[in-house]
């Protein structure tokens, strides 16, 4: 496949690994923020190619994993309202809520449908004017503009029965929160597709305020190895900067249309992240002017206080403090077919990735 196969060539990966061994002197910890990066690292066995000086830790960049229990429980409460159709991206339906999951609610008769795109959700709303269709909006700056575009489309076509429950979040505040909390990180491998939308400026603070290096990376093994090399060179030379490895996709200013739509539909708000708690101005809520499409404003439900799954250490894993193998439930009570926590549900969750590629 064009733009994929070229970036999986073994000789290129190996030559980058060799260069890395020469360059790396200090012991450093790099965080790959994005779940897609965690997947690539384990799928292609990249950790075994790194010099012993470099340790990679996974970050909070898996949308399903960081969605709060409160959000899942609210979605569950909506699904029990007669005449409501819940539409969602695949993995979310399997996340265990405080008492049940959307998948189980579906088995009990709730109308819960998996969609590949928010546009399908809009289509379902058009087809069922007698039903109320709620789309569960999860994801970061990559995915939020899609939801925003769908809301504007619904407004344009006057589709009154399309609603969004937004748990959309943005990346920079959580990255800064981890640094402020004292998690040992020497540099970030930053999410490529988030940056394709936002451009590179959102990371400037991490360099100027926190003194950390940031390299925006693609998702193929050559991309990842090159990004690790670029970060290591920055750290060794003591010159942290925001650099783009993923030149073929990320423009300095990002996607301006997407940014405009995002701004038109959403505003920043404080948001709760699973395991990380409340992070100021890290979430995206629907603006008052579009409240007709905001499920939170249009539905009243009682959601009992949420409880986190017992024994699950997702929170520490999402902060890069522990790895899944340190969880006593990992691969025993908690497996992808019977997950205890959200990090085992999503294909890009750290626990699910470790499970899949464990040796």
């Amino acid at each position: 496949m064009k733009y994929i196969d070229e970036y999986r060539k073994k000789d290129l990966i190996l030559s980058l690994a060799e260069k890395l061994r020469k360059v790396s002197k200090r012991e450093i910890v790099l965080m790959e923020v994005c779940g897609g990066h965690t997947m690539a690292i384990h799928r292609f066995g990249l950790t075994s190619l790194l010099p012993p000086t470099i340790r990679l830790i996974s970050g909070p960049g898996c949308p399903v994993c960081v969605s709060s229990q409160q959000f899942i429980d609210t979605a569950m409460a909506y699904s029990k309202i007669p005449g409501v159709i819940i539409t969602t991206y695949g993995d979310l339906i399997r996340v265990p809520g405080s008492s049940t999951s959307l998948e189980k609610e579906r088995a009990n008769g709730s109308d819960v449908r998996i969609v590949y795109s928010v546009l399908e959700s809009l289509e379902i709303a058009r087809e069922h004017p007698d039903k109320r269709v709620v789309f569960l909006g999860i994801g970061f700056e990559t995915t939020a503009p899609l939801t925003a575009a769908a809301i504007l489309q619904a407004q344009k076509e006057q589709i009154p029965n399309f609603f969004v429950l937004s748990a959309h979040k943005i990346m920079p505040p959580v990255m800064k929160a981890l640094v402020a909390e004292g998690v040992k990180i020497d540099g970030f491998i930053a999410p490529g597709h988030v940056s394709a939308i936002t451009g590179t400026a959102i990371y400037n603070d991490l360099v100027t305020v926190c003194g950390l290096g940031v390299v925006i990376s693609g998702f193929e093994p050559v991309d990842m190895m090159q990004s690790v090399l670029m970060l290591t060179e920055q750290i060794e030379s003591g010159q942290p900067a925001v650099e783009v490895q993923y030149q073929r996709v990320v423009q300095k200013d990002g996607n301006l249309i997407a940014q405009k739509i995002l701004e038109e539909v959403f505003e920043f708000r404080d948001d709760t992240w699973r395991g990380l708690g409340m992070i100021p101005k890290s979430g995206l809520g629907i603006r008052e002017s579009l409240s007709a499409f905001d499920a939170e404003r249009q539905f009243t439900v009682e959601v009992p206080a949420s409880t986190e799954p017992k024994g699950c250490i997702c929170g520490q894993i999402l902060r890069g403090l522990k790895t899944p193998v340190e969880c006593p439930l990992f691969a025993k009570k908690c497996t992808p077919s019977d997950p205890v926590g959200a990090c085992m549900v999503s294909g890009e969750g750290t626990c699910a990735t470790y499970f899949k590629y464990r040796s």
């Binding site: 070229e6 779940g35 795109s117 928010v118 546009l119 995915t143 899609l146 575009a149 597709h193 996709v249």
Partner: protein, 74 residues
């Protein structure tokens, strides 16, 4: 979930494009990306084209990597 895959644009009609990934056809909404031509590669994310793939940049990255490869082999 932030995954996006390179897809080749076959045709464009209004705010939507027909694209292929390994000969399988998909529809890509162009609500977030304009100025797309047949033959371009776009990054497809959950039914939307979110950015173009810059062919010149892609070649440049590979050229530099191949140079490094030559160098380490010598």
């Amino acid at each position: 979930m932030c995954l996006a895959i390179p897809a080749k644009v076959i045709s464009v009609e209004g705010a939507s494009a027909l694209v292929t990934i390994e000969d399988v056809e998909y529809k890509a909404s162009l609500l977030l990306l304009t100025d797309v031509q047949p033959g371009d590669y776009i990054m497809l994310h959950a039914g939307f084209a979110i950015e173009k793939v810059d062919a010149a940049e892609a070649e440049e990255t590979l050229r530099l990597l191949n140079e490094l490869n030559q160098f380490t082999l010598d």
